[in-house]
């Protein structure tokens, strides 16, 4: 069971790669797929390593990715407060 999860909004991504670069547990990699704007979004390659720390969400300039801990709801109070 992973400790957390990430969600990726592929269409918002412009492929900067910050989330891949900064993920402390190397959960993400750039995919070879394209979104409709022609960018490569990230995809999850090591789902079991995700801690749901949301560092990816804090770094993402485009609100295209976010993480949450397994113990929390996906749209729970933590995300609402973390502005």
């Amino acid at each position: 069971m992973p400790k957390g999860y990430v969600a990726i909004n592929v269409e918002r991504c412009k492929g900067c790669g910050f989330c891949v670069e900064f993920c402390p547990t190397h959960v993400l990699a750039m995919s070879s797929a394209f979104n409709s704007k022609g960018y490569h979004p990230p995809h999850v390659v090591n789902p079991d390593k995700c801690t749901g720390c949301d560092l990816c969400g804090m770094y993402c300039p485009d609100f295209a990715i976010y993480g949450w801990k397994a113990a929390e709801s996906r749209n729970g109070a933590k995300r609402d407060a973390a502005r």
């Binding site: 900064f22 402390p24 720390c53 949301d54 560092l55 804090m58 770094y59 407060a81 973390a82």
Partner: protein, 386 residues
């Protein structure tokens, strides 16, 4: 402590004003980045910095406003520079948010405020000391800063260096609270050789990435920083955060963080207390002053002594944290504190709090735009002794 980098030190005997001396102090302290939105009467500081920095090696940016200037220095600090910004009243008001940000993120930086008359646009070319409370309380939330108040161009140089050293030691924004008179007063300034200037280096961690926690405090409650670009990756946020720098918005995390931000300064208050005392041992009245007003007060004290009055003089050099304990110890031995300042009564409130009813506290206010007539201060002294 290591010594100053000779590249930034203009060793010699100079005839310069307080603004230029403050700039030289910053350069001697190792400041290699300044951002500002130049404003009278502080303009000469950044003007000189902009002229000098190409020969020393660094960057000055004239920003679009004071908000941008004050947050640019935070970025420069985390990128590895020693950085400062310079302003006066209206600009200082705009910088308040980022003073709080620097306090919350423990970003060592220096804010120089050459005070002029206010509120609002006020008196751009004339002196005041009416931002003293703003320096301490201007940003929202609970935090502590350090504020120093020079009364001569020489001290502008010396205290600028001290401001940078204290910023690095405590990882806190430090205010250099000048005033228009001190800023534009031209006097002899001696800049010593670099090897006689002690510089507090940035507190860099020895822990490798992975083990390092950006906001885990040491025994003196101050955490260590990293060299940017060496693989340490963390998030710096104004949100209440835990030791790893992750937002942690709970009462417990808030209690831990904000109490530490305050305690790291208040615990060192005795060591930070810095003042010049003269004749306070057998005094019946002690005149407490700072900045340009201290020089007017000195004249008033001399006039009072010529009339046989037992008057002492206490000049605050560190204004924040306020030397409460030191003044409280003095209070039972005197009749009154007399507090002249170029505002309608700010630091006098701190003196009154410190006196705690053991001595009277007399305010000698001045709305700014000039300095006191020594006679006004003398009258207040003689009134107490009547």
């Amino acid at each position: 402590m290591p010594h100053a980098d000779p590249k930034g030190v203009l060793t010699g005997v100079h005839f310069m004003d307080g603004d230029h001396a403050a700039c030289e102090g910053a350069l001697a302290a190792g400041a290699r980045f300044a951002a500002g939105y130049p404003i009278t009467p502080s303009t000469e500081i950044v003007e000189r910095f902009a002229a000098r920095i190409p020969t020393v090696g660094g960057v000055f940016i004239q920003m679009e406003d004071e908000l941008a200037a004050s947050i640019a220095i935070a970025g420069a600090v985390w990128a590895g520079a020693k950085a400062f910004t310079v302003t006066s009243g209206p600009g200082f008001s705009l910088m308040m948010e980022h003073i709080g940000f620097a306090a919350m993120t423990e970003t060592p930086c220096v804010f120089m405020n050459v005070q002029r008359g206010g509120p609002s646009t006020g008196l751009p070319t004339l002196p005041a000391q009416a931002d003293m409370m703003q320096a301490r309380w201007g940003s929202h939330g609970d935090y502590e800063i350090i504020a120093l108040s020079p009364n001569s161009p020489q001290e502008c140089f010396d205290l600028a260096i001290r401001a940078f050293n204290l910023a690095e030691e405590f990882r806190v924004p430090v205010m250099l609270m000048m005033d228009e008179c001190v800023g534009h007063m031209t006097e002899k300034v001696i800049i010593p050789p670099a090897e006689q200037i002690e510089i507090h280096p940035r507190r860099h961690t020895r822990l490798p990435p992975g083990e390092y926690k950006p906001f885990a405090p040491g025994p003196d409650l101050v955490p260590e920083m990293v060299h940017a670009g060496e693989g340490y990756r963390f998030h710096i946020t104004g949100l209440t955060h835990d030791e790893r720098g992750y937002p942690s918005m709970t009462a417990a995390a808030q209690d831990r963080l904000v109490k530490r931000l305050k305690a790291k300064i208040t615990r060192a208050a005795d060591r930070l207390a810095c003042y010049e005392a003269d004749g306070i041992e057998d005094a019946e009245v002690v005149v407490v002053s700072y900045g340009i007003t201290s020089r007017v007060a000195q004249r008033a004290v001399e006039m009072a002594r010529a009339r046989g009055a037992k008057v002492g003089r206490l000049r605050l050099i560190t204004v924040w944290p306020f030397p409460t304990r030191q003044l409280r110890a003095l209070a039972p031995h005197i009749k009154a504190f007399v507090v002249p300042e170029l505002n309608l009564g700010q630091i006098v409130l701190e003196v009154e709090r410190a006196a705690a009813g053991q001595a009277d506290t007399i305010s000698v206010p001045h709305a700014g735009g000039g300095v006191h007539d020594p006679q006004q201060i003398l009258d207040a002294i003689m009134e107490v002794l009547k």
